[in-house]
Assembly symmetry: C2
């Protein structure tokens, strides 16, 4: 019977991570963990499926209605593949609200899912690095989170010439809008419009503001605010955030930008996003302060500040700056030693060597097929980037020695087991 073969492609917008790409991913996740832990953050994780309600209220209409993978489970519950982690954080914090020790410094690294059109730097399944500091509402906590983001870039090799973290205050912006007689019922629409500003020309933006029923005067003043780099000094809070960032040593990575608002509706105070200086990529990370993290779940209130950083744009950026590691050079990506098998009569000697090497915690592998010719076994080691090859033939067995081939230098010598150990340990 003839059977059609299935496609070997992953689902659209999803990616296979082969070992070579995995090494890069693990290197990146390592930098995330290292930086978060340097700032005293602890790792947590939540479910990949969440009840749809926890996104419906706050995550922004577009995200929930158009970009979420929804399913109805066999119990009739409407659930979603998490498009972001903050609602999960909120639920988890609310659940143990009175048992947790504040300030919380929590981070997480994991997959998120958005039903968007796949394109360069955007996929339907991607990874995000989330950091949140929950409890205090001080400028020092804002600065700690932003300094963590800056230090993360620094640890990746990105300099202040490459990236900038643009900072603004929603509170200050809202105050400014109220001074323009924009009613508070309209604030969200205007903030949404500001969020779209850098996606269109100034003329187009002005037209867009007119469709939002802003007067010519209001538009003129709004443009003035957007261009005023000194307006931050009118906010004590922002002034404190910037001076704290200076004391934390990251002032070169940050600047005030009155047009930064971040799309998500739950931000209420300081907001920030990181951009590449050349403007080639979408935002590298974004975040801000939310006045009440747990309001969907609890009558009590709890403030926090955090950011999320996706892996896709960041990897594009690092690649374009030649900052990705050579995956062959990444430590422990493969065995240190391949123990070949000469023929059936030498198998046991090879097995015993493998056993001893592993007892000594030296990553090593046996070539598991003596029907394969020795030169092909060695070629395998070379392709995989294994540094040392050991050959135990009948002569070596007789003399209780082994032949060591260094595939980097091509050097080959006959040595004892103890010499091998002192060489690789």
């Amino acid at each position: 019977m003839y059977m059609d073969k299935l496609s070997t492609q992953p689902t659209k917008g999803f990616h296979d991570i082969y070992p070579e790409d995995m090494r890069v991913r693990q290197w990146l996740f390592g930098k995330m963990r290292e930086t978060a832990m340097l700032f005293g953050f602890e790792e947590y994780d939540g479910p990949i499926l969440e009840p749809i309600e926890i996104y419906a209220a706050k995550s922004g209409e577009e995200l929930v209605k158009q970009q979420t993978f929804l399913l109805t489970d066999r119990g009739g519950r409407q659930v979603a593949l998490r498009p972001e982690l903050t609602p999960t954080l909120a639920r988890m914090v609310a659940c143990k609200k009175n048992q947790l020790t504040y300030p919380l410094r929590w981070f997480s690294i994991g997959p998120r899912f958005r039903y968007e059109a796949p394109q360069k730097g955007r996929a339907r399944e991607f990874y995000q690095f989330d950091c949140d500091l929950v409890g205090p509402t001080t400028p020092e906590s804002d600065a700690e989170i932003i300094a963590l983001a800056a230090t993360f870039f620094k640890n990746l090799g990105l300099t202040p010439d490459d990236v900038v973290i643009k900072i603004n205050s929603r509170k200050m912006l809202q105050h400014k809008l109220s001074l323009l007689d924009i009613p508070s019922s309209k604030t969200n629409e205007v903030i949404h419009a500001i969020d779209k500003k850098d996606k269109m020309s100034e003329d187009k933006w002005i037209e867009y503001l007119k469709t939002e029923d802003l007067s010519d005067d209001q538009i003129k003043n709004l443009l003035k605010i957007m261009g005023d780099r000194d307006v931050s000094f009118e906010s004590d809070e922002l002034t404190n955030v910037f001076s704290t960032l200076k004391d934390l040593g990251v002032s070169e990575y940050v600047e005030f930008d009155p047009s930064i608002v971040r799309g998500l509706e739950y931000y209420t105070g300081t907001v920030f996003e990181a951009r590449d200086k050349k403007g080639q990529f979408r935002a590298l990370l974004g975040g801000g302060r939310y006045d009440n993290l747990v309001e969907l779940f609890s009558k009590e209130s709890l403030s926090g500040i955090g950011f999320a950083c996706g892996d896709m744009v960041l990897l594009e950026m690092l690649s374009s700056h030649d900052l990705l590691p050579n995956t062959k050079s990444l430590s422990s990506h493969t065995s240190r030693i391949l123990v070949t098998v000469f023929n059936e009569s030498t198998v046991r000697a090879s097995l015993k060597l493998i056993r001893t090497l592993r007892d000594e915690h030296i990553p090593s592998e046996l070539y598991p097929d003596f029907a394969v010719r020795l030169d092909k076994q060695i070629k395998y080691a070379d392709k995989k980037g294994i540094e040392f090859v050991v050959i135990i033939g009948p002569d070596e067995m007789k003399n209780d020695t082994l032949t060591l081939k260094n595939l980097k230098t091509g050097e080959q010598k006959t040595i004892t087991f103890h010499e091998l150990l002192s060489l690789v340990q």
Copy 2:
């Protein structure tokens, strides 16, 4: 307006991983990575969503029809949350079949999803450790995979008194069944029946076999095979696997068991599963050889052997044997130093100390709120398990010193910054 608050509970069968549990999970994943890499295995990962077709043919009817989370994406594609990883591995290997270097030694650690009734040791979202060796069909490759599993238990502190890996050969079993005149069309049903053997009494099992239309004679002989611990010597292959396992130093962890078949239909050769010796838990891991990994995707053929190990039963087992680490003792679970803030006038000195400590790669955190009393700041450090607290008050600022409190010993002394560094580096 009164608003009902949402539940803080995760979706049924899903778990929140708070930092304390995350430390245990990361410790366990670390042991998985460490062991796999000791055997020269490379990490990979696939998508969490896969086309339903890749499970439909091989994963066993129960798994696909009753236990899979299915959804139809907005493009009309039927996709599933992966219940297991082997079909993804098959797809990925088939996709790059001619570019990959064999033998492949690949492992993966990630979430899987099964719609089962949640109970102790079983959840709808859980993690699995998958190891596969693809290419050769030799007893040495079977032994490498089983030795990896045994070494994993050893690295977790589980001894041969605690766990046993039971090994059988499907090929030998099928041969034995054919000798009983069981037609090959019926082999799968009988193998399925053998898989259920240890879930019922012998009487019940005999009744069950009768409903499968086996004759009294066939049943008698089948029982004899199931009780015969020496039948393994009839298979050269199994004999070689066991002698290789002995040379690899793990013979104490393994035994032959003719009743092990593993449920999944794609196994064709050696099969194995790990059990706790007291029989308290379900299988700790299971796996086997599949003759043609890529047959759904390719006309060419490729054999492999692998296992999957879930986190839930393993954690139960480790907990019952008191082998889980004390999470407070796990290295780098929190900052080494809390830098407190005495009052507004000393904030800058605290910030600068934090900056310098982090420049020296010492995980440390600032207490980000000087409105909080010093004793409460110290209590926070104590609760979080932070070892050192630094206080910089007006006196310390004047004398360019700092006060260091060791929360483990209670000792408190005034030292210089350089003394602090040499203490914690």
